[in-house]
């Protein structure tokens, strides 16, 4: 349902083949793991078998004695960090925690926590040597559950953590003792007691969701060379080369300018490839050996020792009048941060009521350390958890009051001017339009018949971000343009950026050659994350194109010997007085005779969150004997602002939905009481396969974001938010069971179904 036809655009809204496509279908594209350098050594990590233990001693002598081993490093090789807190592009980080997560210092806080690393002539020797590193541990009691970790008598992970109060939260009274509760958020709006008093119906429930992983297919990797001149080069797969550079420099305590990060092609990230794990270790091994060193994680390492998204416990309460108007909402949200503070619970607090105009609200959130890997961003971090809670309660309210769930949403939807519980007021947003799109869809209008079948709907919100981007573009003599950017391309953004430059210059998308370059070759650019690249790097590309336009106008004026003010740039042509005219190509051929190269540059830094919304509809069939849920049909409507390349917008929507389906139905970190993850393989963790899902029908809604010259909104993240709730609602309408725990896997669902038959 893209509406490209109504617009004057020539390039935007079309579907050119991506510029890096040929390399990626022939196997030529070089990903981080494909890096090979002369004299390169291979590394392996030594990891903790315990979830919580004190390191008594580390003996590396046997490993060092193995032939073919070139170096061993431990945390003793990492510079001390003291109590520094550093701004790292995606939020501030406590360097003491960050460095201890790279190589454990005196304690290990989760199974898989890195303790030492080895570099050897080949990976087999390195792995053998890693097994020869003797680590003596004093095993401690682990705490795996967020509620357990909040208790006064819980085992404490970090001696230096005290509760930090944010928003309206009162200062925690006891700052003398360490705690696992690292942060306490509180947001309030209006008078909650009054709001609930006005309600005719109040629904309150508790919810639990399991820790899940981003599941990108490419494992983390890094190849480092610490050169004799002190300069460090890192070749790696990363969502943000500049933040990887900064993290590496801060961890190694070297100037940021002495580190160059070369971003290789990246095999998926979804938020999980922003934090660095391997680069500082590979760099230290390289310094010790004088040779380049490559490290790559195994799949088990990726599960056990990178940054999944938290499990959660939530309590949510919503009050409504008989005719279906929300009067008040209250939420209590606790996230397991993993080993070190930093879960996205603050964002969860801001998202929980964001789809609705809630006149009186109170949201409390807790960031809690447990003996699991340090969590990290995962596609709309925090929002999927809370969407599961709020959107299933909304469904229950609609059922109790006999209201259509979409009409309820239209009545209460956030609009331009709605103030969120945490304060900000929405600009022009498209929540209403996505609900209308689903209401009017063929899917929602069609009947659904058959036993154990049900339909569910749910909406979701994500902020999106702006942050900083840089683009430069050079005009070639043949009338093409070479575009240089710092945004790593995970899903076709070379093309969506090139298309915006092409549209602005009035040339074809194929006439722009985009290249993603290293940190020495382009201005600062923030991560590929926050749904920001097509939006913010797009703005920078449009700026670069306008810079080129200005210079082309001057060149034409020079050639025609007229005042530049008399020359107009119009849709790929330069128009002068008395019908004088150049096409872009004609003038490009003249640039060397009129003053030399034309290089346009553009940056973006002021644009900010524009707000992304989506509404989903799903039909399921439940097997009441096994608890297995089959997705029969799925439709997603999402506000993309303006879809630059509709295929890649649809792709983000479809990919997000299927990740959400996995989160809803299968995926979870499955721990035993010793804190060992028992399903750290793809086979046991079980991502959705193509046999598990149907085609995902997409409806692109376009409510332009006025901050962007073409109205773009980021599309990457919000599609993952509604699926668990939509599916839970569909399950209820199929078999009458309200699921309040994720995943809704066959055993979990079956036990609820059996429970219901017993009652």
């Amino acid at each position: 349902m893209a509406t490209a036809d109504k617009r004057p655009y020539k390039v935007i809204g079309t579907r050119p083949v991506r510029h890096d496509g040929a390399d990626k279908v022939t196997g030529r594209a070089k990903y981080g793991g494909d890096m090979r350098l002369t004299g390169m050594l291979y590394g392996a990590m030594v990891r903790s078998p315990h979830a919580h233990a004190r390191i008594v001693s580390i003996d590396t002598s046997q490993a060092e004695a193995l032939p073919g081993v070139r170096a061993v490093v431990t945390s003793a090789d990492m510079p001390a960090q003291g109590d520094r807190v550093v701004e790292l592009g995606e939020g501030a980080a406590n360097m003491r925690h960050l460095t201890a997560n790279i190589l454990a210092r005196d304690k290990v806080l989760y199974r898989g926590h890195a303790v030492a690393a080895v570099a050897a002539d080949n990976v087999h020797i390195a792995e053998q040597a890693a097994r020869l590193v003797r680590v003596e541990y004093e095993v401690l009691q682990p705490v795996m559950n967020v509620l357990d970790a909040m208790r006064d008598d819980a085992p404490i992970l970090n001696d230096d953590v005290r509760t930090e109060s944010l928003g309206a939260a009162p200062q925690s009274p006891d700052q003398s003792r360490p705690t696992n509760i690292a942060k306490h958020f509180l947001f309030e709006k209006g008078d909650v007691a009054k709001g609930f008093a006005e309600a005719d119906l109040v629904i309150e429930h508790e919810f639990d969701t399991a820790m899940v992983h981003q599941g990108y297919i490419e494992p983390h990797n890094a190849t480092a060379l610490w050169n004799t001149d002190g300069r460090i080069t890192i070749w790696m797969s990363t969502q943000g080369s500049f933040t990887a550079r900064q993290q590496t420099a801060e961890l190694l305590r070297v100037p940021v300018s002495s580190v160059k990060v070369v971003p290789m092609e990246i095999g998926g990230g979804f938020g999980g490839k922003i934090s660095v794990y391997l680069p500082p270790v590979a760099a230290l091994l390289s310094r010790k050996t004088g040779r380049p060193v490559k490290l790559q994680m195994s799949r088990a390492d990726v599960f056990e020792a990178t940054g999944p998204t938290p499990g959660s416990h939530m309590r949510l309460k919503l009050g409504v009048t008989r005719d279906g108007r929300i009067t008040a909402g209250e939420a209590w949200i606790a996230f397991d941060a993993g080993a070190y503070p930093g879960s996205p619970v603050g964002m969860a607090c801001m998202c929980v009521f964001a789809c609705y105009d809630v006149p009186h609200g109170r949201v409390e959130g807790f960031d809690v350390c447990v003996n699991k890997p340090r969590t990290n961003a995962y596609r709309a971090p925090g929002s999927t958890h809370v969407a599961f809670a709020i959107e299933t309660i909304v469904d229950e309210i609609c059922e109790k009051l006999g209201l259509d769930p979409l009409e309820f949403r239209l009545k209460n939807a956030s609009r331009e001017g709605t103030r969120r519980v945490d304060g900000p007021v929405f600009p022009r947003i498209g929540m209403v339009e996505t609900v209308q799109a689903i209401r009017d869809s063929q899917h929602y209008q069609s009947p659904l018949a058959g036993p154990c079948r049900g339909r569910g709907v749910a909406s979701g919100f994500w902020f999106n971000v702006g942050m900083k981007s840089s683009v430069t573009a050079t005009v070639n003599l043949d009338g093409t343009v070479s575009l240089i950017e710092g945004s790593t391309d995970i899903g076709g953004t070379r093309t969506s950026i090139a298309m915006q430059l092409a549209e602005t210059l009035g040339i074809a998308a194929e006439d722009v050659n985009p290249t993603v370059v290293d940190t020495d070759s382009i201005g600062y650019t923030d991560v590929t994350g926050g749904s920001r690249v097509t939006f913010a790097t797009g703005i920078a590309a449009v700026e670069a194109a306008r810079d080129i336009q200005r210079q082309m106008v001057q060149r034409a004026a020079l050639l025609w010997d007229v005042d530049p003010a008399a020359v107009k740039y119009d849709d790929g042509r330069l128009l002068g007085p008395a019908g004088k005219q150049f096409t872009f190509k004609e003038l490009a051929a003249e640039i060397h005779q009129t003053g030399g190269p034309i290089i346009g540059s553009g940056t973006s830094s002021s644009a900010t969150q524009g707000g992304a919304f989506g509404t989903h509809c799903v039909d399921v069939e439940v097997d009441p004997e096994t608890g297995k849920v089959q997705i029969l049909r799925y439709t997603i409507a999402q506000d993309a602002g303006t879809a630059i390349h509709p295929s890649y917008v649809e792709g983000q929507m479809q990919g997000g939905v299927v990740q959400g389906i996995g989160w809803a139905l299968n995926e979870e970190y499955w721990y035993d009481d010793r804190g060992t993850m028992r399903n750290a393989t793809y086979l046991d963790y079980r991502l959705p396969t193509c046999y598990d899902v149907p085609m995902i029908e997409t409806m692109i809604v376009e409510v332009p974001d006025p901050q962007h010259p073409y109205g773009v909104r980021g599309v990457g993240e919000v599609p993952i938010c509604p699926p668990p709730a939509a599916i839970a609602n569909a399950i209820y309408h199929a078999v009458g069971v309200r699921m309040r725990r994720l995943p809704m896997s066959p055993p979990n669902l079956l036990s609820e179904i059996l429970q219901r038959f017993q009652d």
């Binding site: 990626k24 196997g27 990903y31 087999h124 490419e218 092609e265």
Partner: protein, 160 residues
């Protein structure tokens, strides 16, 4: 460390001889010894399909094949799919159908699709989904991959 042995195989139509240790997988030899990094590594335990190659025409996960087992066999990898500088129908369909985002799963999907279309030139959607279920993609949600396979099948049927 066991002694290295010489293994000879036909890879993408060329006879190739290489030295390998008994513990090395075909995936490792392709990527590290022969520098054919088009075949990708996602898990190294047979779960993801990123390393799929055709061994005597059969799709296999090369991380679960020992390189020595490949002696005397005929191997086809992603590097051997294009005919000269021309993409084949499957590659073309993946490009035109936007069936890849990050692209790390793409070589594996293309090889599995080649095997599918060899065995079943006109598969139904259900058959495609079943045949490709051993290949994981975390980015696309599979929709555009399945459509690309359908498009490639139609194109091949139309030209043969």
């Amino acid at each position: 460390m066991a002694k290295k042995r010489v293994v000879s195989a036909t890879i993408n139509g060329e006879v190739v001889e290489f030295l390998c240790e008994p513990r090395q997988t075909l995936l490792e030899v392709l990527r590290d010894t022969l520098d054919m990094t088009g075949t990708k590594e996602g898990c190294s335990n047979g779960n993801c399909g990123a390393c799929t190659v055709l061994l005597d025409g059969r799709p296999v996960v090369s991380c679960l094949v020992l390189a020595m087992e490949a002696d005397g066999s005929e191997i086809r990898t992603i590097e051997g799919v294009a005919r000269g500088s021309h993409l084949d129908e499957v590659q073309q369909a993946f490009l035109e159908g936007a069936a890849l985002q990050c692209g790390i799963c793409t070589p594996g999907f293309i090889m599995q699709t080649e095997a599918l279309l060899q065995a079943n030139p006109n598969p139904t959607e259900e058959e495609i989904r079943f045949y490709l279920a051993g290949n994981l993609c975390r980015c696309t949600g599979y929709d555009k991959i399945v459509r690309a396979v359908q498009a490639a099948a139609q194109k091949r049927l139309a030209t043969t």
